[in-house]
């Protein structure tokens, strides 16, 4: 009987194609925070809008598999599935290429165990055809679980942007994330954005300094933000957009 001689340790064929799928992407920014509720999703969506408005080709990937919400932030309808053409083409929303598991769960609950979440991430990365992008922004789940860490493990040279708030609860949590990121050899953290802060706080500045990471800037708390979520025109008039635009102009590459 013939014997298969090539049975490598990693038997998942999907991993072989992920690099090819991401090959046309120049910069990958996972938006990370181990603490929930610090504004990762809005920062991801608005940063994608800002970069798009500056003329870049931008993608937004929601990797919060069990609780996706980037589509809500951008006002994307998930009723229509992304088109298929030799793979799945991300939906175009406001000029941004957008992909989320929400298209396939139709916003219903998707209760999954850790390895199942990993399976979904691999499937999405293997079938999504991004094409050429200047930036891929990834909205990641909170915590330090499989899916949060997978958000950086499948990508070549990802540059995480870490989100914190001035709350001591967030600081403690984000410190743990930074310790983990610090242990990954060669990983360049883009910096920390301090969200929901009218002024830069000493706590977050010191945290950035402790890990030799750039403090990128603060984003004021905008009490009206919930009223404009899902409306990209109105999102462009928020304090969040203005503050994040300043941060992006200073830190995220030259004008095209």
């Amino acid at each position: 009987m013939s014997k298969a001689i090539f049975m490598p340790k990693e038997k998942d064929f999907r991993l072989a194609v992920i690099d090819r799928r991401l090959a046309g992407i120049n910069e990958i920014y996972p938006i990370m925070s181990s603490k929930g509720g610090v504004g990762k999703t809005l920062i991801s969506a608005v940063l994608a809008l800002i970069l798009r408005d500056r003329g870049y080709k931008v993608g937004l990937l929601d990797l919060d598999i069990t609780n996706p919400s980037a589509h809500t932030a951008l006002g994307v309808s998930i009723k229509e599935l992304p088109e298929e053409e030799k793979g799945v083409k991300p939906l175009i929303a406001d000029g941004i290429k957008f992909m989320s598991v929400a298209f396939y769960t139709q916003d219903k609950p998707l209760p999954l165990r850790g390895w199942e979440i990993d399976n979904v991430i691999r499937e999405l990365l293997a079938i999504t055809i991004w094409g050429d992008l200047d930036y891929l922004i990834i909205d990641t789940p909170p915590g330090l679980s499989d899916e949060a860490l997978d958000a950086i493990s499948y990508f070549r040279s990802p540059k995480p942007l870490v989100v914190a708030t001035p709350s001591p609860l967030a600081i403690n949590s984000v410190r743990r994330l930074l310790q983990l990121l610090n242990d990954l050899n060669g990983l360049k953290v883009l910096g920390i954005v301090e969200n929901m802060a009218n002024e830069p706080s000493k706590r977050v500045r010191e945290l950035a300094e402790a890990f030799s990471i750039k403090y990128l800037g603060n984003v004021p708390l905008d009490p009206t933000i919930d009223e404009v979520i899902g409306d990209t025109s109105k999102l462009r008039n928020t304090l969040l957009y203005v503050a994040l635009k300043g941060i992006a102009e200073k830190n995220l590459g030259p004008n095209p």
Binding site: S2, M7, F13, V17, G87, Y104, K108, P111, I127
Partner: protein, 130 residues
């Protein structure tokens, strides 16, 4: 054609694990029933990509695997034929098989905490060079 994307992944995998060999006696791929892959489209796609990459596979074998589920709460086991699945949901699960947890529960106790024991999706089991 979502199958084309999977076919590219399979051919990239064959190339990767064989360190670039060009001739193979057999490649065996398991097709899990849950993902309802169109076998003919997948075969066509793989053959087109193999041809373009100058790779020869004498026998491309597909093995169908029935989808089996086991409840983590009560231990009950069931198969796909026990589930009524309309075409729309079938299509959503075709792209992301784990979405089965969104649309189905354990038929015995109603828990969504169940495991896909077998037949989830595509799986390369054998790559035999000439």
């Amino acid at each position: 054609m979502h199958e084309w994307a999977l076919a590219e992944a399979i051919v990239d995998y064959i190339t990767k694990v064989s360190s670039g060999k060009k001739r193979f006696k057999r490649v065996t791929v398991k097709l899990g029933e849950l993902q309802s892959i169109d076998e003919e489209i997948l075969r066509f796609s793989i053959n087109e990509i193999l041809k373009a990459d100058g790779i020869h596979v004498k026998e491309l074998r597909f093995e169908k695997v029935p989808a089996i589920f086991r409840c983590r709460n009560c231990g009950y086991e069931w198969s796909l034929k026990d589930m009524e699945m309309d075409e729309e949901i079938k299509e959503l699960i075709h792209f992301v098989p784990e979405a089965v947890h969104t649309y189905f529960k354990c038929p015995k106790c109603g828990s969504r905490d169940f495991e896909i024991v077998g037949g989830r999706g595509v799986y390369v089991v054998e790559v035999i060079p000439e």
